[in-house]
Symmetry: C2
Subunit: 108 residues, 2 copies
Amino acid sequence: MQVSEAEWTDIEKNIAKTAFDQAYKREIEALLKQVQQEVCSLQELNDLWQLHDFLSARRHEIEGKYNYQYSALLFVFAGLVKDGWLHLQELEGLGKDKLSKVAALARM
Amino acid sequence: MQVSEAEWTDIEKNIAKTAFDQAYKREIEALLKQVQQEVCSLQELNDLWQLHDFLSARRHEIEGKYNYQYSALLFVFAGLVKDGWLHLQELEGLGKDKLSKVAALARM
């Protein structure tokens, strides 16, 4: 299922980068908004440590997930589609084989 | 410099517990307020990870610091006085030896 960089055309690379950045932007904006909302309801120290635990988990997840390497990109896109940060239509222009792989992985 | 529990009278224990709780309340309230202010100015992911680093450090510090054991209490009070979370006057009623130890440690 891995696709090396050589198998991406320049046009596909542009589409991929735009989609990747868009998903990242969406997820980060949602996270910032969520943190701002949660902070409003902080009442006591335990709430703050829960926020800290939440940030630890999200940081670990996000730093691992947004890995822009062509060999992993179809998996990354599939995860982003599955989680709602990216729409399949935003990948239109990629080769049909790539699109169908992303769609199949996203359904798993 | 350590003072075992046997060396604390009941009156001193009450004064100590009240002062300890008061300092804790002050520090936690200040921390919650600080986090709420910092979250207002979150612009991007790096700001959020800076907040996460800050919370990691504060959690480690606070969980270590608020240790209510009589043998350690004079050191704890000295640190709280030094950092401004407790006033020496709030410890009035403790034996003079204890007060002077706290005052001396707080100046170090």
